[in-house]
Symmetry: C2
Subunit: 421 residues, 2 copies
């Protein structure tokens, strides 16, 4: 009865496998619960009005305010390396989603070009297209501010701390093709571009990046873009902070200098302690990040024994080359398995087999990308940024945050955020 | 005005870009039309009953009969390398989809094992999981039979000839882990397994493959399995013909010999001309295939000029190493670009830039996989199979068909199937 012909490790105790584990909030329970209770999710009709989208996002837990719509990706609840499109995070800087008739929508390119152009959607779809998997991430994702000042937010789950990053297969036309059609003049060195949303969200982009790997996307995960993701077209600026990837894209102006658009100046500048409080204006590329998504805060391990630890790693600088996991709060590290395609500037899924012994533990992951960039601890990050330890208030307000995430496991199996102790 | 600072080729004539191309059935028109007219698609509620699924699939163009539900993937209408889950083909060998309560569902493993086991969904989700991108393909996909005897079906679009293949990121537990939990006895050499659908769809699998890369999937494209894809669990047998990947998986019996289950014997055996009409019982692995999905039959090119040719290539034997495209009916071949991740036993997207000169043309693609297997023409395939040219009737009934697909373009830009001349 106890012979094991293949000799490999078994993961379940026999009794557990025969009887079924006790119902409850196990490491996989949320995933299971999602499968069991999934409500029909409407795909947004391309012609849908804002109120339909509003209702759909409400069902998914989005928050609405006068000038903002926010939805966090439930990182703990999906599998694989591509975020289901309907779970992609939303950070909409206006009170509703614009109702755009794709048959009427035009993308204009003007400024320092030989031939100002106006593209219909049919024009765009006749041009050479590319499909590439890339993450997008809000500048403020996982920031110290979200973890909370004075620990009042320490009960948040991974979705609400880390859920402003998602990864999709985007399809569209390389911006280099469009700029080439228009003909760049020799002074051209920057772009500024604007969306057709109520707030006319605008951003600046250096020409070098624009000609490198940026594209104008009309597809997401094989389907047309979703309304809340910028239907009918959005910019995709791979590896750079989310605000560059302007939705509902309408105008591109080629210029010879950067613009300090409203959101860049008012929302996305960061005080820098080491140079007398000046702002660090342009954060471009995301540094490498990773997070364990299961198990994570708010879950409860059902008992000692096997746990598959899994999470996501990514970098704006390239592909992930390594993810390490610690189960003792960073004293020792072991390499995790990278699973599935490891693509540049895209989420990479990692897994790590662990046996919990029932004692207190602190789980952490840290990523390294193929440029050698290593994800830092919070003290290391502050040190890199020149923020003195005693200047905690400024540190807490810092975005573009990529510190290692600790999850503290108590003896009863409950898990909470260990970022601030 | 005519200077072109980057010197690269332009794709649109200036006038066309400024004025917008004429409306009509261009190469990208279906994609555009889908974006513009997309109806909200319900995700199947995990508890949904058959009639809800029935309605959903009807909207998507599925066909129902007393003992069958069929839906073809609109290959011409999506982008990228992963098929949107709601567009995955369906070949259901029963009149409706079973209503399975995942909380009650069990997977049993019995037969030549040390410890017969019964796994709940919670048990399965606590075990080590993998997520992998793989195509599934119906044994009859693209077969000569579908193209039609005597050309009466030559008007079919790519969706209805080739749409029984789809590619998803599946998530689940390696079958080797489950068999290891149960403990294989030394006589174990085959599996036979059964689904919980009304027809108890069953199949045989050699143990070597089972222990290699087969897994029991509960996730598809990050989400729980869809009802029509086997919710809550299905077998995934990478690279092998579709019937191996049994849906609604319920029982696995470990045996010391193959079983000739009903579908294997009655539906999936093939007469073999070169050995006196005997059946070739077990087709296992798909040979390499490719098809141009845009432009393809039923579309109409709007006029001479740039066309992005795109399609999919795959192989049950490994990864695609090369795709070549011919625009002159196979007289000359040029290499296409492979786009995005090129994964083993998964669809790979290819693209090819072409300028149509307005004359008659025949588009073809042919793939080579990393074992060196080259996709054959139809005469080459019949020759390989030992089917004499004069024995056309038998050839037409042959499944497991992987011949090169010709698309004939007429001077007016209209396109039709050129498989039989």
């Amino acid at each position: 009865m106890e012979s094991n012909s293949s000799g490999r490790r078994r993961f379940l105790k026999q009794a557990a496998a025969l009887a079924g584990v006790a119902a409850g909030a196990g490491a996989g329970a949320e995933w299971a619960a999602r499968g069991q209770s999934a409500k029909p999710e409407a795909k947004p009709d391309a012609q849908a009005n804002g109120s339909q989208d509003h209702r759909e996002l409400l069902r998914r837990g989005a928050r609405f305010s006068v000038d903002h719509i926010t939805y966090y990706t439930p990182l703990q609840d999906y599998a694989g390396f591509i975020t289901p499109a309907q779970l992609h995070f939303v950070q909409q800087h206006s009170s509703h989603f614009p109702e755009i008739d794709a048959r009427e929508h035009r993308l204009t390119i003007h400024g320092l070009v030989d031939r100002p152009l106006s593209f219909s959607m049919d024009d765009l779809k006749r041009l050479p297209s590319v499909s590439r998997v890339h993450f997008l991430e809000c500048q403020g994702n996982s920031s110290a501010m979200i973890h909370g000042q004075g620990n009042q937010n320490m009960g948040l789950p991974v979705q609400h701390i880390w859920g402003m990053t998602s990864s999709s297969e985007w399809t569209g036309v390389p911006l280099s093709v469009l700029l080439n059609e228009a003909g760049l003049q020799k002074e051209a060195s920057w772009l500024v571009y604007e969306g057709a949303d109520p707030g006319k969200f605008s951003h600046t982009l250096p020409l070098g990046k624009a000609l490198d790997d940026v594209f104008v996307a009309y597809g997401q995960n094989g389907d047309p873009l979703r309304v809340e993701q910028g239907y009918p077209i959005r910019m995709i600026v791979p590896g750079w902070e989310g605000p560059f990837s302007v939705k509902y894209l309408r105008h591109i102006k080629v210029a010879d200098q950067p613009y300090h658009a409203w959101n860049e100046a008012m929302n996305h500048s960061i005080p820098r302690a080491d140079v007398g409080g000046k702002s660090r204006w342009y954060h471009f590329q995301w540094a490498t990040k990773s997070v364990i998504t299961r198990p994570s805060a708010g879950m409860k391990l059902p008992g000692r024994g096997y746990v598959q630890i899994t999470g996501l790693a990514w970098s704006g600088g390239g592909a992930i080359s390594k993810v390490e996991v610690s189960t003792d709060g960073g004293r020792s590290w072991k390499e995790a398995k990278l699973q599935g395609p490891v693509l540049p500037k895209a989420h990479t899924r990692f897994t790590f087999d662990w046996n919990w012994n029932g004692e207190e533990a602190v789980l952490m992951s840290r990523s390294t990308d193929d440029t050698g960039d290593l994800q830092p601890s919070r003290p290391e990050l502050y040190k890199n940024w020149g923020i003195p330890a005693e200047d905690a208030q400024k540190a807490v307000r810092t975005t573009h945050f990529n510190a290692i995430q600790p999850w503290k496991i108590a003896r009863d199996g409950s898990i909470q955020d260990g970022m601030f102790g």
